[in-house]
Amino acid sequence: MARKFISGNDAVAEGVRLARPHVISAYPITPQTIVVERLSDFCEDGSLKAIYMHVESEHSALAAAMGVSSVGARAFTATSSQGLLYMAENLPYASGARMPIVMMNANRALATPWNIYGDQMDSMFLLNAGWIQVYVEDAQEALDMMIQSYKIAEDPRVMTPFMVNLDGFVLTHTYEVVDVPEQELVDAYLPPLKLAENMMSLEAPKSLCITAGNNFNMEFKIKQNEEMNASTAIIAEVDASFAEVFGRKYHGLLEAIACDDAEVILITTGSVAGTSRMIIEEYRNKGHKVGLIKLRYLRPFPTEALAKVLKDAKAVGVVDKNISFGYEGTIFTNVNSAILQSGLTPKVHNFICGLGGRDVTKENIREMFDALLSSAAGDSCEKIHYMNVRCAL
């Protein structure tokens, strides 16, 4: 095992190299660019024996990856923001075809106004695309998820494309010490992709991405949904087997931190989870019963796991680095549905922050916990809070 001081993007590239995709088809976009630069280097120096396709757009990046996957080869692509939305049409296409493509997405704001910095508007836009969506907290998790993602996506019970999300700049460009596993270990853990029944072959020719009219279409879609829901078990299974081999675990769908006796719980994703960990310790030392959930997967959505952790909470806060205009933060809507379905009745609050790269500071997290504690104590409190705003609301 090597230890390297590298950025989140470098860690993604290292993870991809270890996963040995056959073909990489990608188009550069800030802040994903370093990933494709590194992968081109690896293809050039021979340390990754893959074909690098210089596609002319993100739309073609994913379309080419679908062609690669359709014959049973391992495909990788990476994108961000406008690029993700440009390829949007192809996302449900790939998931309907059940192609185990892995894509890294550097979470970035959407125009307009133009902005190259991090928020999660882009991937939230595509929550309904039928892709598994994971949000990582640091560079190590980014690297490890490149390996786990193929393991999960290619499981015959799952066969679903996989999007690994890193907060733009905050994770993609931050340097950290990362353990890079041995190739032999990864090879043993992640064997080559097996030809599945939805792939083309000379032995058993197939017709792919077919038409199913109003007489058959619904059953195809129900199957897709049932099997995606069932992938929650495989996600947990792979996280456990990964821990056995590589010694690191990420607690599957979500990680609950100090939630056992917590009266208020803050639900976070990605880099905000990292910032919040420090505040938890601080508030616990002060005697506040606060807890933290690092929501890792948004699809499949961990309804049951969430309900289990939230069952005794008096107030629940949800951090959203996105807005569904005309409503609220997208994760908030999803969490509320899970709470309602589980018969829980905590007070719920939405903290909208970090849009277009606005900092989410420790002080902001403190403000969130303070609001939740006061709400739990019975004070009336606004439903939606915009954090770290530079002018009056």
Binding site: G96, A97, M159, E197, N198, P205, K206, L208, I210, E226
Partner: protein, 102 residues
């Protein structure tokens, strides 16, 4: 006649039985096109010089040349009339389908 054959299709009984992805085996014809025809091409074997022009130009590929005379796969002929129109010795006649059903 040596043309692709119809495949039997059993509708999946449960959602689990449906194909993985939007996939189906190729070479999987489950319905015929005979009902499309108003006119039916009929080959006059006496006049036919086996130039194979009709075999070449048929958009549906229903003319079979695997034996010593040309045959038409009427399950899949749509009756477009291209074969008769292109036949130089006028060996193919388009005959009203009703005449065969009476």
């Amino acid at each position: 006649m040596n043309k692709p054959k119809m495949k039997s299709f059993t509708e999946p009984k449960t959602v689990t039985d449906y194909p993985l992805g939007a996939t189906c085996p190729s070479d999987h014809i489950t319905s015929i096109n005979a009902g499309w025809r108003t006119y039916r091409p009929v080959i006059d074997q006496e006049k036919c010089v086996l130039c194979m022009r009709c075999f070449l130009v048929c958009p549906d590929g229903v003319i079979d040349k695997s034996s010593d005379r040309l045959e038409i796969d009427y399950d899949f002929c749509k009756g477009c009339g291209v074969c008769a129109y292109e036949c130089k010795p006028k060996a193919i006649k388009m005959v009203k389908e009703a005449e065969f059903n009476g």
